[in-house]
Structure formats: C-alpha cells, structure tokens
C-alpha cells in the first residue's frame, strides 16, 4: 500500500513493471542482437553496408514503407468516419456496431486471407457472378496485384484503427461541440476546430498501431499480391529459412526498427496528446492562407455567426433531423464498411459447413463433419483450451501492467514519455521473428523455454504495447481535475484511481484487455519458438493444418472463434452495460 502511494506520487514508477518485464525478457537479448549486427567487439557497419549495397533491399524498403503508409491512410480515411458514426449512434446500436467491428478481428488472419482468395480469385465469387450474369467473358484479374494486397491488409487492420478512435471519441465531451455551435460555428467548423483536435490522440494511436503492424506484414501480401508485391519481411523470411545468419537478420530488423522510429516521431509519438483540453490553435485551411480570401471569409463569418447561432437554437429544439442527405449517407457508409468487414468472415462460416474436403465456395454440400473433426480430436480441442488459458493469463497480466504504464506515462514529462513509449512499443514494431529470437534468448536465461509461464511472458510483451496504446488514447481525454477533486475530498491515491480514474477510462482498459487476449490468441511465431515443441496452442495447430491439408476444419475453427465472442459480448452487455446506472458522459457533466 505504501509502495503504491509512493508510486502514485512518482508517476514514472508505474511504468517500472512494464519496463522490467521488457528489459529482462526482451531488452537485454535485443541489445545483444544489436551488438551482433555491428560485429561487436570489432564494431563495424559491414552488415549495414552489405544491406544497402543490394539495390533490391533499398527498393523493397521503400516499397514496405509506401505500402504501410498507404494502408494506414486508407484505414484512417475509412475508419475515422466509421468511428464517428459509431460514437454518434444510439447506445445499443453503438454496442452492436463495436461488436461487429471486433468480430472480423477474431477470425484467424489466415482464414481471412483465404476468404479473400475465394472472393477475388480468377474463379472466385465476384468473377463467377459477373461471368454468370454475362457482364464479362473471361475473369477479371482482381487478385495477385497491389490492389488485392491493400484490400486484404486494410481488412485485417481496420478494426485496429476504428477501436482506438472510438475509445478516444467516446471520451470527448459532446457539449463542447454544442458550445461551439451555440457560438455560431457551422457544423463542419465545430467539428474541425473542436471535435477533430480532441480526437487526435485516437487518430495517432490508431495510425501508430496500424502502421507498425503493416511494416511487418508478410502472409497477406504473399498470398494476395503479385510477384512484385514483396515486403522487407518477405526478404527476412528468406534469410531466416536459408541460412539463419543472426547478424544479417538482426541488421534488416534494426533497419526496419529505425524506419518505424523515424516515421513515428514524424507522426508524433506523444500519445497523451493535449492535456489542457483546449482546442489547438485554429488550423488554417488553404483558403484562409490567402489574405484576401481570409479577410472576406472573416467578414462573412462575423456577419453570419449571430444568425447561425440563432438557427442552431431553433434546430436544437426541432424534433427531427433536417438533413435527409446525411441521414442516408451516414448509415449507408457504415453499412458498406460493415459489409466489407464481415463478408469474408461470412464466407468462412459458410465454407465451414462444406461436405467436401476442400475450402470451397459455394460448398458442394452441407455437413457438420468439420465441427466434429474439431470437437472430436484432442489435438484440436486440447490446443484450443491451452490457448484460452494462456490468452486469459496474458490479458490479465498485460492489462494490469499496461494500464499502470499508460497511467504513469500520461503523467511524465513529454520528452521522456515519447522515449519510454517507444521502448514499450519496440516488441510490436520490429519484425516478429526478431522479437521471437530475442525472447527465446531471454527465456533461456530464465529457464522458461517450453513452459506455459514462458509463453505467457513472451506474448505479454506485445500485448502490453497494445494495452498502452489504447489506454493512453483514452487517458489523453481524461479530465485530471476530477482526480484532484477526489483527492481534495481526502480520497487516497488508490481510492481515487479505483473510484474515479478507472471507471472513466474503463472503455480503454476493456478494449486493451480484449486486444491483449486476441493478440495472444493469434500469436504464432514467438510462441512456436518459445514453446520448445512442448506446448501446442491453437494458432500452432491451425498453422500446421493450413500448411498441410487446408481442409475446412480451419474454417470451422474460425467460425467458432467468431461465434464464441459474439455470445460473450451479448453476455457482457446483458450483465454489465445494462446494470451500469449511467455512462461517463453524464458523470463528467455532473463533475464539470
């Protein structure tokens, strides 16, 4: 208790558990690997010269950055309006939509990639329909090109963009928008100058997660792309498979890490965002930059604002919404995004009932044989049980450690915060194979290879990063005066945290826990290294299956993975959301 109080006074202390875990399991070995890449103790940059000496490496490096930036941009362009519309929807609709966004994220990435092959392929759903309708005679080349890579990557990454945005936007006090409108701001201006700046922490953390994950993408570009659509991870995979030359692999990995650091510092690493809650100084549009236009605009604005303010008050008391266009466009947009997000999963579910021995769409016949094959086979259901246990342990550990770290980071000096955030995010930034090698070396030192504890610790590294990003986004909009108020009423720091802070940042914490669990549930590369051939998790079993016989068991497992969380969310909704007396918006209104 005392230590906790002390930690509470020294916010940076809260990051200690996360950093200690990171250092022991990952930090020391990764420093070792870095020394390896510069040929310590001789110290030379030979490996780096060699890397840049190959024109293909340089070109694929730029290509990797380009693909990641474009994919992140698409995710943001699609994800931002979606998140906005989700947040502004009624509460029950909002919960449904959030669930619908999470569901595709639960499907195995491999199964989803197969679903896209089924949809886009030369003999796929789209081509078959078009040929059947007589629109085209020979199949369109929808697959094995860059477009298909983006379709697949954005599909996998979009939930990771939308959810941090939603959790940041939920924390925005909507009365600020109303205040702006009441003072004559047009809806767009109110959005652009009030809401958007406040949602920036969500934009940042979403973009950061997506960009960083995209850098390491490999399977999807390989399966959906053409020959040219190589990523740096493709090259690293080649090196790993051929010679396992650790210095060379480490060199490629550190170059990728350097890119990530460079781009992230441009994006702004400061996840905590503006703490003062004041909208950032007016963002100038290009129109405003031209002096004459600026003058005219200001003149008309001044002239019109009393009128708009009056109009707003009349609108406020109008029963319905007057804009029929936005009434159609918004829901239509959300509908399209949901179709895009959910149709591959739907196809996977349908394929799981196939009577044939292959993934086929439409299936040649219906049967439950692949579900029987899952439940009847101890190697499948045993692996699933192992994965659930590990996933829960990872979620608990990383949510506690990650939330503390995010809380601590939120209260430290911005410059230090950026540095520490980067350190905590390293395990999700650099190629997973390098994390795997480093973690392996770290766990060997602890004698934890082939143990459940070892796997939990290894998977928690990445999961903590995810929790920190998501919780930080929520904390950025957290009004700290509430804590001060609680403390002024003689609440202890722990009480303040448990009674005030935690309930307010709960959406972020729960989001973080869910993603931590999913991260663990989907983790393959690191797990297979540190499992030491002793522990079989579900992804390991799925990966074995998909390499060997692509039978629809994989579809059945994916379908179950989608359905189980849906049930879980329904239970959660019925027991928890319903019983909550009021959400934090009203609480904040009370407080301010």
């Amino acid at each position: 208790m005392k230590t906790f109080q002390k930690l509470g006074q020294m916010p940076i202390g809260l990051t200690v558990p996360a950093l200690a875990l990171l250092l022991v399991i990952f930090g020391i070995p990764i420093i070792h690997l870095f020394l390896n890449s510069i040929n310590a103790p001789a110290f030379s940059a030979t490996n780096y010269y060699k890397f840049f000496g190959q024109p293909a490496n340089v070109r694929v490096l730029f290509q990797t950055i380009e693909v990641s930036v474009v994919a992140t941009a698409i995710c943001l362009i699609v994800g931002y309006p979606t998140a906005y519309l989700i947040v502004t929807a009624s509460r029950s609709l909002r919960i449904t939509l959030i669930a619908l966004v999470i569901i595709p994220y639960l499907t195995s990435g491999l199964a989803r990639t197969y679903a896209w092959i089924v949809i886009l392929g030369d003999r796929g759903v789209i081509n078959n329909v078009l040929v059947h309708l007589g629109v085209i005679h020979s199949p369109l080349q929808l697959i094995y090109n860059t477009m298909a890579v983006y379709i697949g990557m954005v599909h996998i990454m979009l939930p990771l963009m939308i959810l941090p945005l939603v959790s940041a936007m939920m924390g925005i006090d909507r009365s600020l928008m109303a205040a702006a409108r009441s003072m004559g701001a047009r809806p767009l201006t109110a959005f652009w100058r009030v809401f958007f700046p406040l949602s920036l922490p969500g934009v940042r953390s979403g973009s950061l997660l997506v960009f960083v994950f995209c850098l390491g993408f490999y399977i999807t570009p390989a399966a959906l792309g053409g020959l040219r659509d190589a990523m740096l991870s493709t090259f690293i995979a080649g090196q790993v498979a051929s010679s396992f030359d650790i210095p060379r692999i480490a060199t490629s990995a550190f170059i990728l890490l350097a890119i990530a650091v460079a781009v992230l510092s441009m994006l702004g690493l400061d996840l905590a965002g503006a703490q003062g809650r004041a909208p950032t100084p007016a963002r100038k549009s290009w129109v405003a930059r031209l002096p004459i236009f600026g003058l005219l605009k200001r003149y008309f604005s001044e002239f019109l604002s009393p009128y708009r303010a009056k109009l707003w008050t009349t609108q406020l008391y109008q029963a319905g919404d007057n804009s029929s266009l936005s009434n159609i466009v918004g829901p239509l947009f959300v509908l399209l995004v949901m179709v895009y997000l959910l149709s591959p999963g739907l196809i996977v579910i349908i394929m799981s009932f196939s009577a044939g021995a292959f993934l086929e769409f439409p299936p040649s016949g219906l049967s439950l044989q692949w579900y029987r094959s899952f439940f009847g086979d101890p190697s499948w259901n045993g692996a699933a049980w192992t994965s659930i246990q590990i996933g829960v342990a990872v979620a608990i550990l990383s949510t506690i450690v990650g939330t503390l770290a995010a809380y601590g980071l939120n209260r430290t000096h911005p410059r230090l915060r950026g540095l520490l955030t980067m350190a905590i995010l390293t395990p999700v930034t650099i190629p997973v194979i390098v994390v795997g090698i480093a973690t392996y070396l770290g766990l060997v030192n602890l004698g934890l290879i082939g143990s459940t504890t070892g796997i939990v610790l290894a998977q928690s590294l990445g999961a903590i990063g995810i929790v920190v990003v998501i919780v930080s986004a929520t904390l950025a909009n957290f009004d700290r005066t509430l804590e001060q108020a609680a403390k002024s009423m003689r609440a202890s720091p722990l009480q303040t945290f448990m009674r005030v802070t935690l309930p307010l940042i709960r959406p972020g914490v729960i989001g973080g826990a869910v993603f931590a669990f999913l991260h663990s549930f989907d983790e393959l590369v690191i797990t297979s290294l540190v499992s030491g051939y002793s522990i079989r998790t579900l992804p390991l079993k799925m990966w074995e299956n998909i390499r060997n016989q692509i039978d629809p068991t994989i579809a059945a497992v994916s379908a179950l993975l989608m359905l189980v969380p849906v049930l879980w969310l329904i239970v959660l909704y019925l027991t928890w959301w319903r019983s909550r007396p009021r959400d934090h918006h009203s609480l904040r209104e009370l407080a301010t």
């Binding site: 190959q54 490999y218 390989a222 040219r228 190697s379 393959l524 297979s528």
Partner: protein, 368 residues
C-alpha cells in the same frame, strides 16, 4: 508466420483408414525426460499420422522406449537456438535437404552411428541418402501437373519444361514455385527449358537461370509459396498447368479432380532424419534412425502416405498400384533429375552460399 512457409509438400492420400485417436500429441515439459524417452518431430497432417502408425508405435513395441511424437515440422532456426543455448528439447528431427546441410555445415548435428545398422538394409539405401549427419527419410518430387480439361488426351500436352515455356504451342494459365527461399525454386526447370542437358545442370549457371525465367515471367499468373496454395489453385481450376509437388497433385487425383502428373523431368527432393547435437537421449535417437530406415518400415509407411522410400528393398514389399504413385518408381527414375543439395550450400569467394546468391538475384528480379 513467415517462418515455416516453405515447409510444404504434404498431402493427404489414402489415409482415411488411420484412426483419429492416433494423432494426439502427448504434451509434457522438457524437464520430464528420462533415458527411456525420445522426442521426435513427425510432421503435421497425414505425414504425421502415417509416421505414428508406421514408425512410432512399432518402435515403442520393439524397444520399450516411450516416444513423444511432435506433430509438426522442425525448423532450422529453432534447432540452432536450442543447440547453441544448450537447451535441446528434441532428440530427432526430419529436415529438408537444404536445412539439414545448413545445420550440418554449422556443426549442429550429431553423426549417424552406422555401426548399429544391418548390412543388407544399408546396401538397400540410396547412396545419396546416407550422409554422415543424417539418413534420408522420404523422397518427393516437383512435377509438371496439368488440367486434363485444358489439355485433353486428344490434343498435344506439355511434356517437357521447354514445352511449359512454349506459351504459343501450349496456351494456358501457368503457376510455378516462388524462388524466395533460394533452396527450392524454379531453377533446374529454367535450365532444362533453356536446353541444358539433365546430367549437366550442376554447377548451375545463375545468370542463365534468370535469363530463362525472364521469358516465362509474363506468363506466370502466380508464383506460389506453399503446397496448399498450388493445391488450391489446381483445385479451383484457376490454372491450367502447374509446377507442383507430386503429393499435392496425387491428393487431388484421389479426390477425382481432372489433373494428371507428368513424371517426365521431375525433380527429386528429399528430407533427412537428423539428431541435434548434445540431445538428452542420444542412443535412443540412433536406434530410432536405424529402425525407420528399414525396408519393411518404409514399405508400411509408403502404403499410408505415398512418398518414395529411400530403401530400395522396400519396393519388394509394396504392391504395384502403390508403387506407381511413388516418385522413385524405377520407371520414373529414368527421366528424373535429383536436386543436388551440396551445390546449394557451396560457399563462393564472397562468403555467400549459392542459396544466398539465388535469394539475392530473386529479390532483385521480382522488383524489375
């Protein structure tokens, strides 16, 4: 995920008879090992099931040694980490030719104790299969496979790799294996298509390989990375003619797909049983390798999973209809090329192996 994607070649054939219960892999921590045990990777899917039936169970019955079959592939990276960190949790692994040679070159594998093998068994085993670091476990092949609807018997069919390159005479959508891993790629086929005689392939001329690949590049719809990928492409009829593993095509044929394997100019590849250095159950591991290279065991395995035995005596025990599915059937062997793993691992004056050079050239070539 990228780690093991080149471990492919598996298939499911006539193995439905195998009991489902046999494939559960018993999980136990590494520390629970004692001298009476053995941990072996047996491969995933049906190759794993067949290995358990044909090798694991009879081995346990004969020796009383408790075997823990790990139904997955071993990988070089993990074995290197295990040996270097003195934390070996695996007694026997089977690895592709290239992987085994790489590890052997780094001194991470035990030598095989040939003194415990019977002479008549050893005489039956192909010479290339008997290496100081390992004995080949099974032989599989890369073949040309075509769709019989696109190439019916009434019309000329592509029979050589030169035909495959001839897109005017044999129009159709094509797929070949990706060369991103270097150790396996369309290299030998490119040279054969360019007119290099089969017995003069090695040492391979890398410039000539890529000059030949330049010609076929615009006509390849997809350079596949995993066996399941080419299997799906053939199954969906998305391609008319493919370079594919024989096992993947056999599985499709068994299920009635209209595909046929062209055995001419097939490329033979094989895996080795190897023993990671300083494992805890060395003697049992040696016994295992002696056991699984016996002709009668290989014959039993082949009937569960039709890939070529490395012990020629096994053919005496295999019925002809099964033998005809095997890439090492004496009739097919006449027109085959064998992959020469040693060439891939030869190190040039620049310190790079030929595999490294192939990867570098491939990486440049794909971006051109």
């Amino acid at each position: 995920m990228s780690f093991w994607i080149n471990r492919r070649r598996f298939m499911q054939a006539t193995s439905s008879a195998i009991a489902v219960g046999a494939l559960s892999s018993v999980v136990r921590p590494a520390s629970a090992q004692s001298s009476g045990e053995l941990r072996v990777t047996v491969g995933g899917g049906d190759v794993g099931k067949a290995t358990i039936e044909a090798y694991v169970k009879p081995f346990e019955a004969e020796t009383g040694i408790k075997v823990t079959p790990i139904t997955d592939d071993a990988n070089t990276g993990q074995i290197e980490l295990m040996v270097k960190s003195s934390n070996v949790t695996l007694d026997v692994a089977y690895l592709s030719q290239g992987a085994a040679l790489t590890l052997a070159g780094k001194g991470l594998l035990e030598n095989i104790d040939y003194s415990i093998h019977k002479k008549d068994e050893l005489d039956g085993i192909f010479d290339f299969a008997k290496q100081p670091f390992g004995i080949a476990s099974l032989i599989y092949s890369f073949n040309m496979v075509y769709n019989t609807e696109a190439f019916p018997a009434s019309k000329p069919r592509p029979m050589t790799w030169a035909d495959f390159w001839d897109v005017e005479k044999f129009p159709g959508i094509r797929t070949m294996v990706s060369g991103q891993y270097g150790s396996e790629g369309p290299w030998e086929e490119a040279l054969l298509a360019d007119g290099v005689p089969a017995d003069q392939l090695y040492p391979m001329d890398i410039d000539r390989i890529f000059a030949s690949l330049d010609k076929i590049k615009p006509h390849i719809r997809k350079w596949w990375g995993t066996g399941s990928e080419v299997q799906q492409l053939l199954h969906d009829k998305a391609v008319d003619v493919a370079q594919s593993y024989d096992g993947r095509a056999l599985r499709l044929i068994d299920q009635g797909a209209p595909v046929e394997i062209n055995r001419n100019q097939a490329k033979l590849q094989w895996d080795y049983w190897v023993i990671p250095k300083a494992g805890p159950n060395m003697q049992n591991a040696q016994k295992w390798i002696e056991f699984v290279t016996r002709a009668d065991r290989q014959a039993a395995f082949t009937q569960l999973f039709p890939e070529g035995p490395t012990n020629r005596n096994a053919f005496k025990l295999i019925p002809d209809e099964v033998a005809r599915k095997l890439p090492t059937h004496p009739e097919y062997m006449k027109s085959c090329v064998s992959m020469k793993g040693q060439w891939y691992n030869d190190i040039g004056p620049d310190g790079l192996t030929n595999t490294d050079k192939l990867i570098q050239r491939w990486n440049e070539w794909v971006l051109q």
